[in-house]
């Protein structure tokens, strides 16, 4: 990958709030079509890092370049055409229909004097199809389940037609079936649309099995940013999370699973 040009480059990016160091001298490069996961304990700076990448938080020190041009030099619409974002929690109104919400993802591509019209709704049909939302297109967000809503948020981000999509814990509130559905959807997008993904997650097995590279953040610093195999190495995870883990290997040693080690306290005789 080192011979291709990076999409995003971070050099010495630090962020301090109220005297508290949240990100400390972050250096990294993101390449086209990479499937990247970001793991780390709560408070490690994962969400803050994502918010730096879409400039919701303007960087205080260091440089962030998008396509070899400083992120500061982009207009809000220009950034939106390159980077889309799926937040951890949605705080907005749930009164939109699926069609409305997804087509509003095209804001950056619209003429400011026009409204979202019929042509914009047809433009999002392929996206509704990939995200299996066609049957839900007239429904109001309020009436959808958590898994369906998450697909809508991803679809809206895809409607932005950005090369890079940032997702902040897209599966934290989902049951196993819907979780896997989202993982497979993300993989499909990554492969067929050549979209670069940066996904903050607490699901270590997902990171292990799906990512091209996994970034381990702790106390605002990158501990490691490499192929996810390192997660199965002895004590790699306990160094990141300060907790013990077991690695289980399948019979043919083709797949590994990570489980946190815990003890059930004996309360009965």
């Amino acid at each position: 990958m080192s011979n291709t040009q990076s999409i995003l480059t971070l050099r010495d990016v630090s962020y301090t709030i109220e005297g508290q160091l949240i990100l400390s001298s972050i250096h990294c490069e993101i390449y086209p079509q990479e499937f990247i996961t970001v793991i780390g304990p709560n408070g490690a700076g994962k969400s803050t890092l994502l918010k730096h990448l879409n400039r919701w938080i303007p960087h205080q020190t260091g440089t962030i370049t998008l396509h070899q041009k400083s992120l500061r030099a982009y207009s809000p619409k220009a950034i939106a055409k390159e980077i889309a974002y799926v937040p951890q929690t949605y705080a907005g109104t749930l009164s939109f229909t699926v069609e409305e919400f997804v087509s509003m993802g095209r804001y950056a591509h619209l003429d400011p004097l026009r409204s979202v019209g019929k042509s914009d709704i047809t433009a999002i049909y392929p996206i509704l199809e990939t995200t299996h939302l066609i049957p839900f297109r007239k429904r109001i967000l309020k009436t959808l389940s958590g898994g369906e809503r998450q697909r809508v948020f991803i679809a809206a981000a895809l409607a932005q037609q950005a090369q890079l999509v940032l997702l902040d814990e897209p599966t934290s509130f989902l049951d196993p079936k819907h979780r896997i559905e989202i993982y497979q959807l993300l993989k499909t997008i990554n492969e067929t649309q050549k979209t670069t993904l940066i996904i903050v997650t607490h699901d270590l097995n997902f990171a292990l099995q799906f990512s091209d590279r996994t970034m381990a953040l702790k106390s605002g610093q990158i501990l490691k940013f490499d192929k996810p195999d390192y997660l199965t190495a002895d004590s790699a995870l306990s160094a990141i999370f300060d907790a013990p883990f077991d690695i289980i290997n399948s019979a043919q040693n083709t797949r590994s699973a990570i489980i946190p080690r815990y003890y059930v306290p004996e309360t009965k005789n």
């Binding site: 889309a84 705080a91 509003m104 409204s115």
Partner: protein, 270 residues
Amino acid sequence: MTTGGILAAAGVAFQALFRNPLATPYTLGVSSGAAFGAALTIKLGITMSLMGISGVSLGAFSGALLVVLIIYSFTQIRNDFSTSTMLLAGVAMSIFFSSLILLLQFLADFTQTVQIVRWLMGSLAVIGYQPLVSILPLGLIGLITLFWLRMDMNMMLMGEELAASRGVHVNRTKLLIFLSVSLMTSAVVSVCGPIGFIGLIIPHAVRRFVGIDHFILLPSSILVGAIFLALSDTLARMMIAPTEIPVGVITALVGGPFFLWILLRKDLEM
């Protein structure tokens, strides 16, 4: 009718900006500033007029502008356009100026006090043709700006962070909404007094029927606001004719129960 339309549109915009169903065009203290300006002019007995606009109106407009300026510089000093800061600053301004009005009433003689109270009720009675012409430019500029921002207002309903990630220039949008709403509200209030409830109930009532898309919501609210105020005014003139009840009393009397009825039927949704 112009007044009703402007107040309703202003309410729509502020409810989108603050994402708060209780926001009205008066939320940031514009009406209190105007009322103070009017009360001060009455107390000082200034009777000069300019281009057919009465001294009281001019005083009210200056008072409203003063509040807009204070809130604006406040956000600039803090370098922060957070909506909760603005809301709290607005509440503080309202309380401050209301107290000043009470002080003025205490100091004023009886006729002046009656005049001040009458003004606070909001009335269309004294409106001639001339004041209307003078508020029209500000009103139009404000309405055009809001209509131009209709898509941004839709986007703001997703929450500021998500709107920004979709390419909305969030701070510019907020500043423009704040300025256009404040200026057109100041213009209206200075001529008609603080006619209540229209900016609060019309947007909610209309949203109930046409949905949350500002492309439809804005013009419908303007229309319904205009009709509602015209009807209220007619009622105000007829109820105990030939005496004309201040129209602000009617809008609140009709508006209050009507609003409760809307609340009964569905939750407030933004």
